[in-house]
């Protein structure tokens, strides 16, 4: 009988669960349920992913144990200082959990601290024993699962990783071909957006699989620096492609092949490089080495263009040159990885500069909610006698509050039914089945069968949360210990505890700011336009005026918002209920998001060009005209931030176009006078790139305003239960 992959994974988890319980009961350790939790949580699709999660869990547990014991030791008789320090630490862990790295480590640090403190705090004589027990049981669960995963049907990440790398390369090449054709005004249809989304998804998956493959595959570990560089180059490629695409509107009226005479040869060379990268990733040696090529400009043809068209062309050329560098770097790095060429010095390639610490308001909101939950449950524990759950109320309250802080889009109502179902299932097993068992063989069969059933039925990645709740609640309700007792009252008390926790979380999540996806979307949208407005306002500062630290911090904050908010909006948009908002389609929302992303890129480009351009005499001459354009853009952004509507797209486009045309006229006059003081080609290119960035922001803003105008925002602002 050939078993399917999900059956094999279910068998592995069930076997590990049974063995972990067997060892814990045999050694007469208290709370074998903690070993069960470890097995339930580290069982993932591949050995590498499981090992990574296990490593994060055990290190988080050890750190949390040390911190919890320190908190108990510092304030053994001062309950308010005790909770102040504990809630502060858990708040810090919640904030760090929202970052890019080691999210699960910080999650474990937070909730394990709560568990050890609430189990050991009231009973400080046993605090050390409980802390060690938690580490022991967690280590046992991880060790047992790791051994089962390595020895029984080990599933390595290498095959999935190689497939993901190949798929990423193929999508990248296809996207490049589509964009090149689009630039030449060939109609590609709706493939662009689909490919861009696909590229983003594949990049995310590649990143996840790389982490897993580094753990369970020696070949990948050996070349990990090169693979990381491959990942960085892929991200840079996606950003450059997005920026390149934004220029297409401006290039529509141009005969691009006349202006860039060797564009076809240039385009073909890059396509060949991407094809060779695909070939090498499939394990075949390259048939063609990259040849040096530069994108030529027909200087005579350019003279007939307006300054803004020249600017658009300059920006496009820069991007294509950057793509040439990227394609060459990608070719070399893959050559090195696959052993077809010379080693590449990865340290020579600079990584992204560090922007400094910036507070994220959304992560801070999560911190406030978690700390509030902890305090309310603690106060309830102290002041309400015999509250259901006792210290377990604080434990579970903290755990669920941290889960919601990590995934704020998850509605609480969606969690209620899986948990209620799991409690009912666990109750039936605990009351009707377990009293009939008389030895570990029978108990082991029950554990194996139940764990197998849950893992098999909820095997799909989308059902991961249901699987987790099912396993965790079942083993918590079953409460298997050596001195086994059965109590219906215990189960009803646990059920009541969950009801209280959900009620509390519902109140905290919705007060004072609504957690409805459309309301959150509106708040984030307002913040985005507000940040854009701030950055436009502070674009060209007076170089004689020294910036204070606070102003520098403010700018960094708004730049961070500009880069991060479109992604957050994209995540929240998926949860908006279109049925409750009639007349609004997902396509309209997607158009708004695409416009926001474009505006974000253009603003970043404008900032980069404004910061990079030297004190150009031409820019100084045009200051008043640029200011007039800036004032108009700021006014539009303020309207979008406040009312989400800047009026009719055509009216706005005409107003901005009039300002741009006036600016163009002034450029002609200024360039005429500048002939007396010659400027270099490089200065001219910088100037045109700056102009291109201004125009780009105008175009993107008009597009944003147009998309926003089609949506009936008043329905979004209506209050609903």
């Amino acid at each position: 009988m050939i078993l399917s992959r999900k059956a094999k994974e279910a068998i592995k988890t069930a076997l590990a669960m049974t063995i972990a319980y067997g060892i814990a009961l045999q050694m007469d350790w208290d709370k074998p349920v903690w070993a069960g939790f470890a097995v339930a949580l580290v069982s993932l699709a591949t050995v590498g992913q499981s090992f990574n999660k296990a490593a994060l869990r055990i290190s988080g547990t050890l750190v949390a144990t040390v911190v919890a014991l320190a908190i108990i030791a510092l304030f053994p008789q001062d309950r308010w200082q005790f909770m102040l320090l504990l809630s502060g630490w858990v708040g810090y862990c919640t904030y760090m959990m929202g970052g890019a790295k080691y999210q699960y480590f910080w999650n474990v640090c937070g909730f394990v601290s709560i568990i050890v403190c609430m189990s050991g705090g009231p009973d400080s004589a046993n605090a050390f024993r409980i802390a060690i027990l938690r580490s022991q049981e967690t280590g046992l669960g991880i060790l047992v699962y790791s051994l089962v995963a390595i020895l029984l049907w080990p599933t390595k990440s290498q095959a999935d990783f190689d497939a993901a790398a190949a798929k990423l390369a193929a999508t990248r090449r296809r996207l490049y071909q589509v964009f090149l054709a689009q630039m030449s005004n060939k109609d590609i249809g709706a493939e662009t957006q689909e490919l861009r989304t696909q590229l983003l998804q594949e990049q995310t998956r590649f990143g996840q699989l790389l982490e897993a493959a580094e753990t369970d595959s020696y070949e990948v570990w050996e070349m990990r620096q090169q693979w990381r560089q491959f990942q960085r180059l892929s991200t840079d490629f996606a950003t450059t492609m997005a920026g390149w695409h934004e220029n297409f509107i401006e290039l529509q009226m141009l005969d691009i092949h006349s202006l860039l005479p060797n564009l076809q040869t240039f385009g073909k060379e890059l396509d060949v490089r991407f094809a060779q990268v695909e070939r090498m990733l499939a394990g075949q040696p390259p048939e063609h080495q990259p040849t040096s090529i530069d994108l030529d400009l027909d200087k005579a043809e350019i003279q007939s263009l307006s300054h803004f068209r020249r600017a658009a062309l300059a920006v496009t050329r820069t991007r294509l040159q950057h793509l040439e560098t990227l394609s060459r770097s990608l070719f070399n790095i893959v050559c090195d990885i696959k052993g077809f060429g010379q080693a590449v010095d990865v340290t020579a390639i600079p990584s992204q500069p560090h922007t400094g610490f910036v507070f994220d308001p959304d992560r801070l909101t999560g911190v406030v909610r978690v700390m509030t939950t902890l305090w309310l449950t603690y106060l309830a524990l102290i002041y309400i006698p015999d509250i259901p759950g006792g210290p377990g109320l604080v434990n579970m309250g903290g755990v669920f509050a941290m889960i919601l802080a990590g995934t704020p889009q998850l509605p609480i109502s969606k969690m209620f039914m899986p948990i209620a179902g799991s409690v009912l299932f666990g109750a039936v097993i605990h009351i009707f089945v377990m009293p009939q068992l008389s030895n570990f063989i029978e108990l082991g069969l029950l554990l194996f069968a139940t764990t197998f059933g849950i893992c098999y039925l909820f095997a799909a990645p989308k059902q991961a949360l249901s699987k987790l709740f099912g396993l965790a609640i079942f083993i918590a309700i079953a409460n298997i210990v050596n001195q086994q007792t059965y109590s219906f009252l215990g189960i009803t008390t646990t059920a009541m505890m969950f009801v209280i926790i959900f009620l509390l979380l519902y109140i905290i999540t919705n007060i004072p700011f609504s957690a409805r996806p459309e309301k959150v979307f509106l708040r984030l949208l307002g913040r985005f336009f507000h940040s854009c407005g701030y950055l436009i306002h502070n674009l060209h500062r007076n170089p004689r005026k020294r910036e204070t630290r606070f102003v520098r911090w403010q700018k960094t904050f708004h730049v961070h918002e500009l880069a991060g908010l479109p992604k957050k909006l994209g995540v929240w948009a998926r949860f908006i209920d279109s049925k409750a908002l009639p007349g609004i389609s997902p396509l309209q929302i997607q158009a708004v998001l695409t416009g926001l992303q474009a505006l974000s890129y253009r603003m970043q480009e404008l900032r980069a060009e404004s910061g990079g351009a030297k004190a150009h005499s031409l820019v100084k001459e045009l200051q008043q005209d640029i200011k007039a354009w800036r004032d108009r853009v700021e006014e539009t952004l303020q309207r979008l931030a406040g009312e989400n509507n800047a009026g009719d797209k055509e009216t706005l486009q005409n107003r901005l176009a009039a300002l741009i045309d006036h600016l163009e006229q002034r450029i002609e006059e200024t360039m005429g006078r500048a002939a007396e003081k010659p400027v270099t080609d490089r200065d001219n290119e910088n100037f045109y790139r700056l102009l291109g960035a201004f125009r780009g922001v105008s175009e993107a803003l008009v597009e944003c305003a147009g998309n926003a105008h089609t949506i009936n925002w008043s329905r979004w602002r209506e209050e609903r239960f």
């Binding site: 219906f488 519902y506 109140i507 919705n510 609504s514 409750a580 209506e718 209050e719 609903r720 239960f721």
Partner: protein, 70 residues
């Protein structure tokens, strides 16, 4: 209905009357909220989550006073 407050017994399991009243009050509040959403009357409230909590309390008090004594 018996006017003296007493526990509810289901299969030998005793439940306090306040728990039953709270549960019924919550169900009534949920139904009211769904109806208010359905007929777009919820837009007249400035803060529906607080209104929901208030409805729960009101229904619990009414049920506890007139239907199931607590």
């Amino acid at each position: 209905m018996n006017q003296i407050p007493h526990e509810f017994a289901i299969g030998g399991v005793f439940m306090p009357p306040l728990m039953v009243v709270s549960l019924l009050g919550t169900i009534a509040a949920v139904v009211t909220a769904l109806l208010l959403n359905r007929y777009r009357l919820s837009r007249y409230f400035s803060y529906p989550p607080l209104v929901f909590v208030a409805l729960m309390v009101i229904y619990s008090v009414l049920i506890g006073t007139f239907i199931i004594r607590v």
